[in-house]
Amino acid sequence: MTTVISAGPGHEPGPARRGRVRRLLDRHWYAWAMVLPTVLVLGVLVLYPLFQGIYQSFTDLNETNNRDLICTQTLGGGEDCVPNPDRAQFVGLDNYVDLLTGERGHFWLLLVNTVVWTGACVFFHYTIGLGLAVLLNRTFRGRSLYRVLLIVPWAVPAFVSAFAWKFLFNPRFGLINSLLSNVGIDPVDWFNHRWTSMFAAIVTNVWLGVPFMMVAILGGLQSIPADLYEAAEMDGATPWQRFRHVTLPGLRPVSSTVILLGTIWTFNMFPIIFFVTGGEPAGETEILVTGAFRAAFEGLRNYSLAATYGVLILSMLVVYAAMYRRVLRSKGEVW
């Protein structure tokens, strides 16, 4: 505090810094003024709830203690308010400890479910999307019709598809079980086992998510110069080798983006699990977001626990995205 190491003559830190800020403001005030509305809107809509949520995860906030004041109507028509003696308390890391040790909720079950769910969905989204995109990238009759048809799942609201698929998987009236019995396989009680139930949800979500991947990859395919394929053909590459050495590397920028996006979206894909399995059997197919929802809106509404789920989900995704980026970097991808 007492010694200031001066970097050189005429370089006093205080005034010089203030001068620079001043100069920046002077010179760029117009730019600052232009970004201000965006900053405000983002602050109100994103940052404030985010920090609010993070704060709540360190409290014991729930529906019984969410008021700061308790107000009673007085005879004169006014209100008489006193501070709530039981209002939410700061509890430190209690929520995190409870969740991670399994004291409350089933965090680890939900995490395993989420990882299986996300991995399976993204894998099939990408591979099926890639296959369809490669097929649709050739010229054949009725190509545009197929393209439109394959985009339909995307155009239907997710919950509508979810109900439709739930009905298809219905153990007694569903089309899938009747098809199975037609080929001589015993009908499956889909929603009575953890993994068959999860399977139904994954099939539904794959059906929903493939169009996006297909369209994105189709765009990527069309950006690969045709003469690369011709050069590979001249170099003697077979169709498979051309796919390996021209198509896949050419798609890498698109693939890396859509896989990251797909992972984040699927990780947080609420409606399919909620409407198709509803957690059946007995909560064994819940994923983290549906768990957070149930904590917040079912039974005793435990907002702080839901917020804790939220913070954990956010931090996992942030870590994932950072690692993903690093891996891509090491492969020489500019990203």
């Binding site: 110069p225 003469d227 690369l228 011709e230 050069a231 590979a232 053909e233 001249m234 170099d235 003697g236 590459a237 080798q241 050495h245 021209v246 590397p249 050419g250 890498r252 020489g332």
Partner: protein, 365 residues
Amino acid sequence: MSTPVVFDAATRVYPGSTTPAVDSLDLEVRAGEFLVLVGPSGCGKSTSLRMLAGLEDVTSGAIRIGERDVTHLRPKDRDIAMVFQSYALYPHLTVGENMGFALKIAGLSKAEITARVTDAAKVLDLEPYLDRKPKALSGGQRQRVAMGRAIVREPQVFLMDEPLSNLDAKLRVSTRTQIAALQRRLGITTVYVTHDQVEAMTMGDRVAVLKDGILQQVAAPLELYDKPANAFVAGFIGSPAMNLGTFRVEDGAAVIGEARVPLPRTATAALTESEVVLGFRPEALEMVAGYAPDAFAVEVLVAEELGSEAFLYGTLEGASLRDPQLVAKVAPRSVPPKGSRVHFRILPDRMHVFSPATGEALPTA
């Protein structure tokens, strides 16, 4: 060791089009020869080359490489290498991997691939860049990688489609001599496509001129220059271009302005109309001081003085040329001023006579 290539009435009609892009092309490329395909844009040069490469189906006719009929073979079975105009380098592979890709596909051993790639890199001055990605190279270096990718394969035939068009003018000049020298050294039969007639004249052993999918003439560069088979070739080859014009014929002489230019008897005998197309290169014009019966007057519009030579651009009085301007090569450092009126005559043995109906050259001797 080198192999000839034969186009035998090869025709390509693109689906959905009624006129052929290449119309029954008959062309023989001799073993070890550097043949240049040249012509204006859209004349079917790339299509011809791609037919030979196997990238484009042959609608009718045949293509042979050496003894083999390759008309329906796939590109990889033809033993040819191609340099693309865009270079088509694999962006995710290094320079070395790009050059070795075909060898790797062909299943050569690692040691063999490395040896061949290093050899090619040495020839092309690419050794310092072998580990770089194409993105990190200049245009000229990329061009050399594309060449390297072709030469490591030691194919029977090289194909190049305008490989220099992405380079700047100066680099183009130096690269074109390098490519020509490299081809002479390797002795591999080469078909080279360009729309630049200077490239064609300087690089080719022989030059094939195409127009609208039809082969106009194949000949050594100088023969093409001196004895064009028709008015199109005459006007296409040479820079500045040959002066071409249609003139009336009276008593065995062409009427150019007030001048009467006698035509060779063989030409007039072959002429069926009362008009003739005359062609004369800028250097076939001689300035005459006074009056001469075969000299015509020209009004000077622009004089281009280049130091070692000079060109006059002017309008021919009393006659019309295809190109409204007439170009004449004159002695440098004593160029008549703009706006002056000078007389020229055509050196009789340097005149080209073409039929106005067919454009074919008429015999002059």
